[in-house]
Structures are given as structure tokens and as C-alpha cells.
Symmetry: C5
Subunit: 346 residues, 5 copies
């Protein structure tokens, strides 16, 4: 049993249930023609256009559009509020409103598909931009891991969207590549004798159909370009996040090293204090000057050694590259003195 | 010697052994036609379709299907329980049950191949998702290395599956690209005179064959899309794992640095205590206030120095970027204050 | 209402407003022909060439060029100062100044488009080179994070530019791939009988049109090559930045390790001093030699242990690779002794 | 002078030296036809097939195969032991042994080429698998660097092999894409009148040649697939190695941090002991309970502070992600509690 | 004004200046034909071949070769010493010396171009190999950063070379793809009646031209393959460098951790010594055995705790993976016990 909504040329909308066999017979189709095996497909069979666009399954006949099994797919709103008026051709929302019925029906469906893809892109696009914006923030020491989680989710959605756009483009391209298939889509041409007369007035059906399909192909291409750019931006941002995290780490490591140097110096000279703290006779016990001498030596010595270590580190991390090495890009006077995060404790 | 299972048009299944030469003679083929050199191939030779799909080697004649060397390949179950009924066309599982025998045979074999590929995908897909799910868990400090091992194994399987899908698609595409080869596959057309009459009733064999092959090509394409998305997900997850690990490391490093600062402060002022602990005369020995003074100075001094170092670190890691730098994506009011893992010990 | 600027063959420029219907009627076009749905498109309809190049919307008729809705797009300067003289053909800035009007108009518009793309490339190119130059500076311990931000912004712009170049190339390629479309663009050929006579003198319109389009296709290709090289340079530089940061970290880590070794040695032998500092009777209290002995032992022992640890580290980090391993590239006498950042504190 | 080995149709093998001009004359070729400028090429010139497959340079005439300059290339063994018998067609090793001589010669040479490529793949394949197997071993703290060296060498060989396979495929594809070139390769067809009669018996030379070339094209494709999978495996393994090394580092860093916390606690409370160790009067000197009090306080205090720090670290590294975040892949009840390397010293 | 060097068929070389208009007139070309707008182009116009190969601008007429604006481009040496003799055909350096003049001229120019590209590759190739060889040296703790700089420069040059090779290939391919364009390049065919007679002797000009162009296309392809392999090698080497640096870091980190464990143990037991060093009464002061007891306990305790910590670390870093996990590649008896850098201080 098919639940079927029928839109005819004159704007009437009727809904009824029909046995499968009845439907096949009515459209002169065979069972295998209405299997809708692929998520996205447009085929012409026996002067009908059989379309599937994910949830939407439709058959375009020369003077009506049948939408099958439309219940529970979130399509009702669109069917009633948008599709019906568009097919009527009242307010001319479609570029094809002066063309035969199948053009209007096909355009409405393709437009709906592109709109759906666009809506999905509009959903992930700002989320991804926001998350990247906050992740590449150079002030952050560590990436916010719940945001990474959301980013991963969204880039997964983006990949799926990319696939769906590609599949949509491929299904159009397959038709555009074969003259014959375009002709077959112009079902009125084969069924309505008046059309041949009309076409002598300068409108070529096949050419109009090609323009229509090409238009949606290019719209899908634009969506595809945007998703590709977005993927590239995610990749670039990840590199920047890594460089950021690495830079933070290096800065912290230098500070740590500088403090380790300090601790080492204090331990070295503290050993002297420990030595004099032993309960052993050093013969200096009674001389009050020695106390100040040793104490001063300990503090001064620590300080001096630390300073030497720090300056050693400074020299060590900034190797003097031989001046004869040219810059990578042969441009003169690049100011590379900058480097905001230059010095640590020195 | 070939071990051969023969399914004829009327649903009879017979198994027998045959000498190679006998078989060649029966089918009017030459030795090189039945070499099955490539893992996946479909060729028409002398009104027979010779098919190899990995383990399955078959010859479709106008009124029978021969499966060769089927023993020990795990095919028996399928041959007996599924293939035989499908070819009978009893319960109409195939879209082609009203078409000549070779269509039914070809469809059954292609369907089997796609099912096998799908089964392999179904095997690796949930395993990979589960492992990635647990690896990108932001709570983990280090990746579970036995899971990495399993991931590597599965992504290897995924690559092999990808190759097999590609090879299957290519073998179909090679036929679809040449009208002539499609015609050759319609073996009944050339052997059965009645068919020509029938075809005047509107069924074009070559067109039906093209639809059949295209159908399986598109099913393989959908499998290919899924594997590609899965590979992309693995790559994206790996980036997230790296950022996670790096973030953890940075957080730990800051904690470490903060503690090193504390230890340094304590060492510095501890040196004072060590100095007074020396068995040298400092002249303050007898003054009880000095004890409290020095002790207090040591603890307070350490604390103060530590606090200064911590606030120095805080400033150091959050460089004030000149406010005139616009955000990367020219969007206003991005809230980048978040950052759950913001503060350490401060 | 369209605001329209009209350039005719004789160099007159007029601006006026026109109702849409009027315009359609004048050009014998239909509403859908002037929808300009895609950012970049060139189509021939009814002896007019309809062009959109992002902001610029134009219609080329056999003897005039109409620019539509040109206000507020930053195009005025170009329209008045450059386009008008070029179309006049006065100073022969165009290669096509001896050819029919539509050639001149088309060339002027394509040249403008290529110039715009080139200008955008000229904007990001030096900025990216400068930033990379300063980021790969081996002296920097950490990447300047505000520069990374700018780099990210510019590589985003570069991606967008890449897409626009690709779209421009594709729209030219679509025409170049179809002989028929090239013919359609030569609108004079169909409207002006004199041209047929002229063409007998050896100028083939379609061929000239092909050369013209090919020329701009190749210019766009050159731009595309430059952007691709620039993207490659960004990738390569990022690798170098990572290796730089990692190298710095390793050098600092070795220094840190060397100091940790020192601190460990001092702690170990300091423990001896602490032992003797206990208020417990060790029986050596009165012997003045013991003080010097123990003190000397503490300092010397620390030093010796440290030295052993350092040399252990040295051996540990430079594993002797078995000499039988050939070099990767089978070249003899590679001098790999270099390595500027070789030694730490040793 | 060419050193030439000649295999004729009847199985005779003769070796002799010949002047270049003589050879050109004999084969009716010109000097430029025998330049062998490209490493891999198959061309038909004047009823001869001129072949170069890296070291092997050969000319196939309608009834003989000339191998030129074969000395010192490691080809002798193959020429004598394998090629001669194959061309004889004695033991029917070739699929083409019932076809004209040039088929047999061409097949023998192509088979030799594919075997050589396969042998090179067989050489690098197990080495790479072994090395990757040992490098991804999660137990290793650091990658064995001599193995990395060998891996690099082998992946360089793999790249070269990939290029050679591609070149071989391209040279076959160039012929397969042009009907005319396939015809030219069937040299017997043009020289031997009997063949035309024979071909009326149902064997089409050009078709047989196409099958032959296609067969080797597909074998090369299979080799190409394997190399591509192997390259993918190297990439995947490198990611796993990096995650492994990073995980090890994080685990060590946490241990280090936990110990730094301990050392800090001990230093903090040790300062108290140092204070009481000063030679200053604290008025508690004589009270024996104070010794135990302070000592106990030092040890207990250190322990308590350390415990607090450890639990702080524990909380810090496992941020509670808001429960409303869905899992990435919308699957329920993923058990992510695992994590073998969960706890450190706590 | 053009500065022009003219090589005629008979080997005469003349240099003179000519007005642009004069040149156009002489060659029957139009101004736009000699714009040389693209860096690499080969076009036939009016029985002349107009060629630009970067610096070299040339026009091939049926019986002479004009090189334009050749001064100051470093071409003089080649023009005088190599080009003139080649065109004379004296010593037969060209494969085309028996063919009409335009063949010789075209071959000389294409050969020159390929030689130039080859020379550029020869320049960067050994430099890159040398640098990579020294950078992947496993003994180096940190990458030599001045070498990275040079590597970056050279890989930039390599990218530019890759683009130039691609552009050169594309310009040849554009001709090879169109029969008609190949015909147009055979200028003698159209101007010299004798050639038609000659061609009846079996030499087809268009076919010879195709062979000539194809030859240089394949040479360029070989160059392209080498650059691609080199780029792959750079990428692979970078991975190895990263793994090397990471491995070094892990080894150092373990050593550091082992020493931190030692320092912690010493601090812990040192606290006991500090306690006894306090000027507080512990009642043990007078017992000489207590000194040795406590001292021994301190040293022994430190040692024992350290050992426990080290063995804890050992167990921690080598998690026992459940044995049921199969190896990744299902190969038996992989010896993964190796691992040269296995143990630290233990």
C-alpha cells in the first residue's frame, strides 16, 4: 500500500491510499522501477520521472506530481505550504513557471533538496567557526576538551554533508553527460502534440531542461566549495592549535629550566652551609667574621652561578646562524626581531 | 578437474566433476578464458559470462549457471540456501525475476558480492567507532595502547576493503563505459530467437542490463562513501587525541612549574636557616626574638617570592594581544572567555 | 528597476534607469535569463552574452555593453576611467581592438576579473611570506602567537581566493569544451552580414574567441599555480616550525636533565652532612681532620657522581648504530658530523 | 655495435654482434627508432614492436625476438632458462601459446616485467611489515632509531616502485586507449596472408592483443593497490607511534608531577626542621616533648599536604564534562570507563 | 624594436634589429600573436610556430628560426655554441636531422627546455638528499636549525620546479590532444610542395611531429616523477625526524623521572636527619649507637624507597597487554624484543 499525495496541473491536491499494483498499472511502470533503492536518484521511465531525494519519493507524470509515503518524514509542512503554491505557478516563485508541468515539479523538488543541504551547512558552519575561534585563542594554555568533542561531532556531520552534496552532484552530472537522458526528462514533449508546435516558437525543451539541471548542479557545487573551505580551515586551525600548545610548553619549559638552575645553585652553595652545620670541629667556630663570610659567600655564590647558568642558557638557545645564509624568500629587510614572547626571567 | 555445481533455468541443481577439456568443449571456450587470473572480473566470451568475485568462480550460460571449485570457500550455505531459490524466481527476491536467466544469475552474484562487502564493512565499522569513542574521551591522560593496536588492525582492514570496493566498481565501470560489452552480456539476445520478438514489446535487453549493473555500481559507491567517511573520522579523531594529550601535558607542566617555583622559594629562604644552623658564631645566638624573626622571615619570604613568581607566570602565559587584531572570521562578539581548564594553583 | 550604464560601439556612455520588463523586451530575453544566480557565469542567450563576475553584472549585445546595478560596488572608478577608453579602442590596450565589439567588451571584463583576482593574491602573498619568514626563524623559542593568528586569517583568504580562481577557470573551461558555445559567443557573426564577407579574408571568429578565452584561462591557471605553491610553502614551514620547537625543547630538556643530575648528586652527599649535623654523638666530634675529610668527601663525591651521570647520559643519547647500516641514499661521504647544537653542559 | 640475442619462431637461439647500420637496414628502421630513450616503452614501427623495460631492450619482428645489449644486466639466466622455452611454446606456460609469435614474445616480456615488479614488492613488503610491527609495540618507550632508518630506506624504495608501476601502467594504457595502436602491435596480421584466412575462423587478433595487454594492466594495478595500502599502513602506524610516545610521556609526566608534589611538601615542612636547627634560642630547647611534636608535625604535615596536592591533581586532570554533551556518534552505552593506564601513585 | 637572431636552413646566423611592424609584416602575423603572454607556450599561426619557454622567445618559420630579445638572459652561450651546430645538422645530435627544418628547430628548443629543467632538478636534488641524510641521523638530539632553513628554501625551489614541469607538460599535452594542432605545427607540409611527394615515400609528417612531442612529454614526465618522489622523501623524513626527537625526549624524561625519584627518596629520609639536627632534646643525644642507626636508616631507606619507585616505574611503563590480542598483521614469531634504547638507570 502506498500513501500518495497527488498535485495536479490545475493546483488540486488530493491524498489517498492505493495498492502497489494499481499504481504500477496506472503509471505503466514495473515493480522494480519503484524500488527507490538509492538515496538520491532521478530516472525517467516510460514518460514518468521517478525521483528520490533521501526521504522524499516522488513520481512526476506529464500532468501531475505524486509524492509517495510522505507521512512522518517532516515533509508535510513543505508539501502543503510551499510545494502546492509553487506548482500552481501563482506567484511565480520558480524560474520555470511558464514551462510545462514537469519542469515546475522538477525545479520545486531540486530546489527543496538544495535548500535542505544548505540548511544543514548553515547549521554546522557557525558552530565550527565559533569553536575554532575559541580554540585558536593564543591565550589558552590547553585546548578546551569539551569543545574538541563538539568540533569532532560537527566535522563528522560536515563529512556526511560533503558526501551527500557529492552524491547529489553526481546524480545530476550523470544526466547532464547524456543528451538522451535530458530528452527523456522532457516528458511533455513526448506526450503532448501541442508542444511540438510551440517549440517552433523558439523554446527548445531539452535546452531548458539542461539549463535547469545545470543551475542546481552549480548551486550544489557552491555548497561543495564552502564545505571544502571549511574542512581546510579546520585543518589549518589544528596546526595553529598545535603550534600554540607547543609554544606555551616551550615557554614554561624555559621558566622551569631557569628555576631548576636556581635550585641547583642554592643546593651547591647550601652544601657549604650543611658542612659547617655538622657537629664536627672546623676550628672556625669562634670567629664571628667567618659566619658572615660563609653566609655571604653562600648567597653571593648561588647568585653568581645562577647568573652564569642563565646567560649560558641564553646563548645556547639563540645559536648565531652564519650571516651568509640568505633568507628563504630572497626578500630584503624582513624584520624578524619581533617575537613578543622573547625573554623569560632574565 | 573441476568440481562444478550447475543451476539450470528450471531450478534443478546438480553437482559433478568434469575434466577441464570437457568443460572447455562444452562451453566452446579456450583454456585461457577460464584462467580466472584477477580477483574480480566479469567478461563475456562466446555467449557465456565468465565471472570471478574473489572466491566465487562462475560461468553463466544462456540457460544455466555453473559454479566452479566451490568446495571449502564457505560458499556452500549461500549456494544451497539462497542462490538456488533466487534463480528459481519463486519468491521474486530479485528485481529481475521476469527477465531472462542470465539476468537473474548475474544479479544474484552481484548481490552476493555487495552483501559480502557490506558484511565486512559492518564488521569494522562499529569496532572503529567504539574505539575512537573511547580514545577521544577527554578524561584520559594517555591513550589506551591496546586499543590503538586494535584500531590499527581495523584501519588496515578498512584499507583493504576500500581497495576491494574500488576494484569491484572499476570492473563494473569498465563494462558500463562500453555499449558493446553490455550487449555482449545479454547472452539470451544472441541465442534465443524468441527474445527478439519479445523485445518488440518494449523491453530492451541492453538497457535492462545497464540498469542492473548501474544499480550495483551505485550500491558499491555508497559503501565506498561510507569507508571514506570512516577514514576521515579516524584522521579527525587522531588530531583530537593529539590535542587532548598535548593539553593534558600543558596543564601538568604548569602545575609542575608552579611547584618548582615553590620549591625554589623554599630553597632560597631555607639557605638562611642553613646559614644560622652552621656551627659558627653569629652573635645572635642568645637573643630569643631573633629565632622567631628569622623563622618568620623564612616562611613569609618563601611565600611572598612564590606568589610573585606565580603571578609572573600568570602574566607570562597570557600575553596581551594588541586589541586591534580582528578575529579571524570577522564575526562579532565571540565569547572566548570559556576555557574550563583555565587556572592551576593560583 | 535596473540602474544601467550603457557603453556603445562609438564610445558613448549613458546611464539610465529602466524597468525590468522593458529591459527584457529590448534584449528579447526572459526574466530567468537575467537572474544572475551564480557568482561567476558567462552565457550566451539570444545573441547577447550575459556575464556575472561577482559584483559585476553585464550584458554584451552586438553593439553595446550594459552594466547593471553597478552602484555601490566600488566599480565606478574602473567603469569610467578604464572600461570606457578600452572599449573605444583608442589606445589599443586590448589585443582585440581590431575585432568586433563583443570581443573588446568580453576581453575588458575578463581582464578586469583576472586583475581583481591578481590584486587579492598580491595582498595576501607578501603578508604570508613575511609571517612565515619570521615564524621559521630558528632563534625563536616559541612561535609568536599573534602572528599565527594573522597567518590563519590569510590562509583562510587564500583558500577563498583558490576557490574563486577555480570557479573562474571552470566557467571558462565549460565554454572551451563545447565548440558550439564558443560560436554562440561570437554574436556579431549572427547579426552582422558584413562579417561573413570579412571572415573570408582569413579571420575566423570562433577561433579568435577560443584564443581569447584560452588566454584568460591560462592567466587564471598561473594564479592558481601560485596559490598552490603558497599553500605548499605554508605546510612546509609549519613542519619546520614544529621541528624547531621540538629541537628547542629537547635541548632544554637535556640541560634540565643535566642539572637534575647535579641536584641529585648534591642531595645524595648532602645527606652525609645532614647526618653529621644531627645532635647525636658520632665520636668524631673533636677530631678537626674529620671536618675537612667529610666536607671534601661531600663536594668531591657530588662532583664525581655528577660527572658519571653526565657521561652516562652522553652515551645514552648517542647510541652507536651498527656501522653495517648503509646510508639511506647510498651516497658516499656524507658529512653528518655537523650539528651546531651538539653539546650541553659537558 | 649491438650485441644481439635472437630467438626465432622455431626455438633456435643465436647470439652475434652486428653493426648498428646493418641492424637498422635489416629491420627497415631508422636510427631514432632504436634510441630507447625512455625507461619503459612499447611502440610499433614498421611491423616491428620495439620494447624497453628498464634494462631489457628488445625488438619483436613477425618471426623472431631480438634482445639487444643484454650482457651484464642480470638477464642472462632469464633469457636462457625461461624465455627460450616459453617462446618455443613447448610446455604452454603462456596463455598465448596457440597465437602468432609476436603474442608469445610480448607476453613473455610483459610477464617478466610484472614478475620483476612483484619481486621488488616482495622484497620491501615483509621488511616494512616487520619494522612497523615492532615500532607500534606499545611497550616501547622510544622508537628504535636504527629501525626508523631502515623503514625510511624501504619506504623510499616503495615510492620508486610505485613510480615504476605507474609508468608501466601508463605505457600499457596509452596503447589500450587507441584502437589503432593495438592493431599495429599485431604485426603478423600485416605480414602473413594466411592469418587473414584463419581469422575468419573466429579469432580476432586485435581483440586478443587487447585482452593480453589488459591482463598485464590489471596485474600491475593489483601491485599498485598493494603498494598504496602499504603506504597507508605506514602512515597509520606513524600516527599510532606518535600517540604511543605521547601517552608514555604523559604517564611519566604525571608520575614526575606527583613526585615533585612530594618533594615540595617535604621541603615545606623541612623548613621547620631547618628553623629549629638554627643556632638561635627558641626557648623550647629543653622540652623533650617538643622534639617529638615538631618531628611528627613535619612528617604528618608533609604527608597531608602531599595527599591534598595529589587529589587536587586527580580532580584537575579529569574535568567533569557536562553530562548533556552527547557522544560523538550517537550510540548508547559506550563503555568508556576502561583505560588501562589510569592511575599513577594515588 | 626587436633584437633578433636568425638561424637559417643553411647554417647562416645573422643578428639585426628590426621594427616590430616590419617583423609582423615579414611573418604575416598580427601584433597580438607576438605578445608572448604566457611563460610557456607553443602555438602555430600562419605557418609559423611561435614559442616561448620562459626567457626564450622564438619564431620558427619554414626555413629559419628567429630568436627574439635574447640579450641578457644567459642564452648567448647556448645560442652560439649549441643551437647553431644542431640546426646545421652537421653532427647529427638531433634525432630529427633528416627531417624538415622546423622539426630540427623545435627539437633543439624543447631539448633546451628539458635540459634547463633537468639542470634545476640536479641542483636541488643532491642538496635535499644531503640535508635529509644529516637530519634523520638518529644520533642528533635536536635538528640543526640552519639546515632546516636550507631545506625549506630547497623544497620551495622544488615546488616551483614542479609547477614549471607541469606547465611544460600541459602545453605539450594541449597539442598532443588535438590532431589538428599537430598538423599545423608541420609548417613545411603546407608551404613546400616537394614534401607531399616525399611523404608518399612513407614518412608522415604529423606522425613524426607527434613522436617528437611525445618524446619530450615523457622526458618531462620522468622529471615530474623524480620531483614527486623527492617530495615524498621529504615528508617521510620529517616523520622520522619527529619520531626521533620524540624518542630522545621520552628517554630523557625517563632518566629525569628516575632521578626525581632518587631526589624524593633522599628528601624523605633527609627529613629525619633534619629532625635530629634540630636544637631540641630527643633524649638520644648521648647514645653513640643511635647516630649510626639513624644514619644507616637514612641511607638505606632512601635506597630502598628509590628502588621500589624505579621498579614501580618499570611495571608502569610496560603494561602487560592481554596475550589474546593478535599481532596487527597476522604474522607469526615477530621478534619485538629488540629496542636498543631499552633501559635507563635500572
Amino acid at each position: 500500500m502506498y500513501l500518495e499525495m497527488k498535485f495536479d496541473e490545475d493546483g488540486n491536491v488530493t491524498t489517498f491510499e492505493k495498492k502497489k499494483m494499481e499504481l504500477y498499472h496506472e503509471l505503466s511502470l514495473q515493480a522494480r522501477d519503484l524500488r527507490f533503492q538509492h538515496l538520491t536518484s532521478i530516472t525517467a521511465r516510460n514518460n514518468n520521472i521517478i525521483i528520490r531525494m533521501e526521504a522524499l519519493k516522488a513520481v512526476v507524470t506529464p500532468n501531475s506530481l505524486l509524492v509517495l509515503d510522505f507521512r512522518g518524514l517532516g515533509l508535510e509542512r513543505w508539501l502543503v505550504l510551499e510545494l502546492a503554491p509553487q506548482l500552481n505557478g501563482d506567484h511565480g516563485a520558480l524560474a520555470t513557471h511558464s514551462l510545462p508541468f514537469e519542469f515546475r515539479a522538477l525545479e520545486a523538488i531540486l530546489q527543496h533538496r538544495v535548500n535542505t543541504l544548505q540548511a544543514r551547512l548553515n547549521e554546522v558552519h557557525p558552530v565550527i567557526l565559533d569553536i575554532l575561534e575559541s580554540l585558536v585563542d593564543p591565550k589558552l594554555l590547553s585546548a578546551d576538551r569539551s569543545k574538541l568533542h563538539i568540533l569532532l561531532q560537527n566535522s563528522k556531520n560536515l563529512s556526511e554533508l560533503e558526501t551527500d552534496i557529492k552524491v547529489f552532484k553526481d546524480s545530476l552530472l550523470k544526466i547532464l553527460d547524456e543528451e538522451e537522458m535530458i530528452e527523456e526528462l522532457c516528458v511533455t514533449k513526448w506526450t503532448d502534440p501541442r508542444v511540438f508546435e510551440e517549440s517552433s516558437l523558439g523554446i527548445d525543451h531539452a535546452e531548458e531542461m539542461e539549463l535547469l539541471l545545470e543551475n542546481y548542479f552549480m548551486q550544489a557545487e557552491e555548497l561543495g566549495n564552502t564545505t571544502r573551505e571549511l574542512k581546510g580551515l579546520i585543518d589549518d586551525s589544528e596546526s595553529v592549535i598545535f603550534i600554540n600548545l607547543d609554544s606555551h610548553r616551550n615557554v614554561m619549559m624555559r621558566l622551569n629550566l631557569q628555576l631548576t638552575m636556581g635550585t641547583f645553585s642554592l643546593s651547591l652553595f647550601g652544601l657549604m652551609g650543611v658542612a659547617f652545620g655538622m657537629n664536627l670541629e672546623s676550628t672556625f667556630e669562634e670567629d664571628p667574621k667567618v659566619f658572615w663570610l660563609v653566609t655571604g659567600f653562600m648567597f653571593l655564590g648561588s647568585g653568581l652561578i645562577w647568573r652564569r647558568l642563565l646567560s649560558f642558557l641564553g646563548r645556547h638557545l639563540e645559536p648565531t646562524i652564519p650571516p651568509q645564509i640568505p633568507t628563504v624568500w630572497k626578500r630584503n629587510q624582513i624584520n624578524s626581531k619581533g617575537g613578543e614572547v622573547k625573554s623569560g626571567l632574565r
